[in-house]
């Protein structure tokens, strides 16, 4: 079942600025990366899913509900973590998250319990009784994540969750998001302009550019077909290239290496046999994953 489905979704702001145009995607549960440059329409897409703004054209369904007419039902099942700073400095995290749980309609006691649970899950323990103003950026991001999680949504919309974090903080946040997506059984849409970051934790990717859909697919299907083998020998690289060519393998040269598309496991054996036949010293033979980024750039040039 699709958690998010859009059909020719379009959003034009007053003044003729097109934020989204003709966006059609169907998203399955899991961890989903929503990537695009700043201003590509990611935030607009999120706001439409939350029912904060109405689309100018097309349709959007979240859990098969219309965010425009069934706003409350959608929002009960969706948690939102905004990109910007959104925490008051003079209250404790425990109080703040409890308050927002009550805003989601949880009764008083349940709100308090869920708030400390959510804060525990994001890794805040005793600190949660301290005022937020004294927190580090990493801790603040965790509080923002906890408030999105507190009412037990089925879908989390995270807008740039790694913003402002140092590399270690990034890794921790990404690991946490991955854990929420896999262990908690909650689908997560992670918005980011850093492709390399989201591809590590996502099951599928949606790439948008200038409000248009660039590509939407599962990460596995994006990368599986494009695995290549990198072969490096100490000398006589040309000879090996010719030999592999004779064997029917489309070889490309890249510096001192030969790249062979891995259509099947047979390619391994063929390369090894060719190397031994030519009595070459094999320096390296490894499987090289295309970074998803390369796919997008390739696709992009085709589009233009």
């Amino acid at each position: 079942m699709n958690i998010i489905a859009t059909q020719a979704l379009t959003k034009t702001y007053g003044g003729g600025v097109t934020a989204l145009s003709d966006l059609t995607v169907a998203v399955e549960p899991g961890v989903i990366g929503l990537v695009g440059a700043n201003g590509a329409g990611k935030s607009t897409f999120i706001k439409i899913m939350l029912g904060l703004i109405a689309p100018s054209g097309g349709s959007v369904r979240v859990f098969d509900l219309d965010p425009v007419t069934e706003t409350d039902k959608v929002r009960a099942r969706v948690g939102y973590m905004p990109e910007n700073d959104c925490l008051p400095p003079d209250v404790s995290a425990a109080e703040f998250v409890t308050h927002l749980a009550r805003m989601s309609g949880l009764p008083r006691t349940a709100a308090r319990e869920r708030a400390s649970e959510a804060l525990r899950h994001v890794g805040l323990y005793e600190e949660r009784y301290r005022q937020i103003g004294g927190y580090s950026t990493g801790m603040k991001q965790r509080v923002k994540l906890a408030q999105a999680l507190v009412h037990d949504p089925d879908l989390l919309l995270l807008d740039e969750p790694t913003n402002g974090l140092d590399p270690a903080g990034r890794d921790a946040m990404l690991a946490l998001i991955h854990r929420i997506g896999t262990e908690f059984g909650i689908s997560v849409v992670v918005c980011s302009h850093l492709l390399g970051e989201v591809e590590r934790i996502c099951d599928s990717l949606i790439a948008i550019q200038g409000g248009r859909l660039l590509r939407a697919d599962r990460i596995s299907s994006m990368t599986a077909a494009s695995d290549v083998l990198a072969v490096e020998v100490t000398e006589r690289t040309d000879e090996l290239a010719t030999r592999l060519g004779e064997l029917g393998l489309p070889v490309t040269r890249e510096g001192r290496m030969l790249l062979v598309p891995m259509e099947s496991d047979l390619a391994y054996d063929q390369i090894l046999r060719a190397v031994t036949d030519l009595e070459l010293n094999l320096h390296r033979l490894d499987q090289r994953r295309h970074r998803v980024a390369e796919l997008f750039t390739a696709k992009e040039t085709v589009d233009v």
Binding site: K47, D72, A76, D90, M103, L106, H151, G185
Partner: protein, 286 residues
């Protein structure tokens, strides 16, 4: 190795309990706002000012009640109480409205509210009611203390108490009018800025700058201008409504323009609320 004291990670638990919806959220936001108005659930610093003001009003009420019980001719009514404390109310509103509204804008917490079932109108209503209640309590509780003083020292038995009740009810209504008008203006000004100091200054400025206008209009050689001078400032506007609707004597001659005061007060409150709503509709969509 001892196993006691080890916290086991019981993993993520789904929430199966009730979700109460918008009405409960509005109620929670109202209670939260009312508590915040008196600094409850906030830092000790935030408690100083509201309780100082509340302390002063209660003290004044106790003194008045004591004086009244000793000197029967001392006619200081419930309505006079509000009029005489008007500047204190203005300062209370100037501190309270930014604390309720500007603080949310400054910290950027609004997107978190509006991604929940809460709507812009719900937010405005909850904050408005919380502040009206707070201002009304600030005036109504001292008035009640005055009432208790008078009721326990009355010499006319039950009918004396009943007379006091009939005086108290319009006094409470008058306090409500103060609360409604000052809250709507205060919240509207405070909703325009995230800086609490600016908002407080703006609110005080509105009341400060309109007072001289009343002074000028009331000495113009035109009886219509004199009668309607009070319309220019929120404070005299309320006094005018009080003298028209409740017949209180406030030294402001309205002539036959009393109803205009009533209409302006109503329109001012309605317009402020509508502008607030428009403002938050815009904020909610961002």
């Amino acid at each position: 190795m001892s196993e006691t004291g080890v916290i086991h990670d019981i993993g993520y638990q789904r929430y199966e309990g009730p979700r109460l919806g918008r009405a409960a959220a509005i109620n929670a936001l109202y209670v939260h706002g009312l508590r915040a108005a008196f600094g409850l659930g906030r830092s000790a610093k935030a408690k100083i000012f509201p309780w100082l003001v509340a302390g002063i009003t209660v003290l004044v009420a106790v003194i008045i009640a004591a004086v009244k019980s000793q000197i029967p001719d001392f006619t200081f009514g419930y309505v006079d109480f509000d009029d005489n404390l008007s500047w204190l109310i203005i300062f209370f509103v100037a501190i309270l409205a930014p604390a309720l509204v500007s603080r949310d804008i400054r910290s950027g917490v609004l997107p978190l509210y509006f991604s929940r079932p809460l709507r812009a109108a719900d937010y405005v209503i909850a904050k408005f009611l919380a502040m009206v209640t707070a201002v009304w309590l600030l005036l109504g509780v001292p008035q009640f203390i005055m009432f208790l003083g008078a009721a326990f020292t009355t010499k006319d038995g039950f009918s004396g108490v009943w007379d006091e009740v009939q005086d108290l009810a319009p006094g409470w209504a008058y306090s409500l009018l103060w609360a409604l008008l000052f809250t709507s203006i205060g919240l509207l000004v405070a909703s325009l800025t995230g800086k609490q100091a600016f908002a407080a200054g703006g609110i005080v400025a509105i009341f400060l700058m309109t007072a001289p206008v009343v002074g000028v209009l009331s000495v113009l050689p035109s009886s219509a201008a004199n009668h309607m001078a009070g319309l220019a400032s929120p404070m005299t506007l309320i006094s005018g409504v009080g003298s028209w609707a409740l017949g209180s004597q406030i030294g402001l001659d309205l002539g036959r323009y009393g109803p205009i005061y009533g209409i302006e007060a109503f329109c001012l409150i309605a317009a402020s609320l509508l502008l607030l709503l428009a403002r938050y509709r815009k904020v909610a969509a961002l």
